[in-house]
């Protein structure tokens, strides 16, 4: 089961700074290639999409395939010009969505 998304966003930045965001979510990322003891394929169940929005605008996203490791980790950059809220979204193969938010103060 997926749970507990963890995100690192700096609390403060200067206008125009390019900040680094690190994200991690606990998820097995079952690839659909593995077989169980009876030789039957274990059905695929992965996080297939990640998206980051800042004050309502999408700034980064990723389309994820089964070749991404368990507990998918993503690191990317965003240029910030104003204070606001980052929203992060992970979409599971079964349709569940996991979200979290972080605030940043830009001065």
């Amino acid at each position: 089961m997926a749970s507990k998304p963890r995100v690192k966003v700096p609390k403060k930045a200067k206008a125009g700074d390019i900040i680094t965001i690190k994200t991690l979510i606990s998820h097995k990322m079952e690839s659909g290639q593995r077989k169980n003891k009876k030789g039957e394929k274990i059905p695929r169940k992965i996080i297939n999409r990640f998206a980051a929005t800042f004050n309502g605008t999408e700034v980064f996203s990723a389309d994820i395939d089964p070749a991404v490791s368990a507990n998918p980790y993503l690191e990317f950059r965003v240029k910030v010009n104003e204070s606001g809220t980052f929203k992060f979204l992970w979409v599971d193969d079964d349709g569940s969505e996991y979200t979290t938010e972080k605030k940043i103060t830009v001065g």
Partner: protein, 151 residues
């Protein structure tokens, strides 16, 4: 022709064996055609050039289950001139697609890091599509000691 029980058993076994080994052969790794098709679909008709893309991978990955990779594309990242997306492919995995990063002008720098699975020693390919439609790629070989696809 009358199908006896013995014949039916033999046929069934042959079929099952074919199904098992047939699928093994197909799924062992991505074919060159699959890679080509994925690249063509991504490039949308543009010619794929070299340079501008730097892909950082370990030379040797001891554990194929989690191989750190990092992609950076040289671009001013303005509204008119930025990197739209970067697709990562692995040519020795059962499916070549690994991940596609979608950037925006708000990214500031077109760089991203993640951890991927590699079934065996193979090439990792990063292709970047710019806002003007041009496409660039980079390729690195990663030697894998223990594969990461299970089963």
């Amino acid at each position: 022709m009358k199908i006896t029980r013995r014949k039916a058993m033999a046929l069934g076994t042959a079929g099952a064996l074919f199904a098992v080994f047939g699928s093994r052969i197909n799924r062992a790794h991505a074919s060159a055609e699959e890679i080509d098709a994925a690249l063509k679909a991504f490039a949308e008709g543009a010619e794929i050039g070299e340079g501008q893309v730097s892909l950082t991978t370990p030379e040797i990955a001891e554990n194929g289950n989690t191989v750190p990779i990092s992609v950076e594309v040289d671009s001013p990242m303005t509204e008119d001139n930025h990197v739209k997306s970067v697709m990562v492919l692995a040519d020795g995995n059962p499916n070549p697609e690994v991940i596609t990063f979608n950037f925006t002008a708000a990214s500031g720098v077109a760089t991203a890091k993640t951890r991927i699975r590699l079934a065996k020693t193979q090439n990792v390919i990063a292709v970047a599509k710019m806002s003007d439609g041009s496409v660039h790629m980079a390729k690195n070989q990663v030697k894998v000691t223990i594969g990461g696809c299970g089963g």
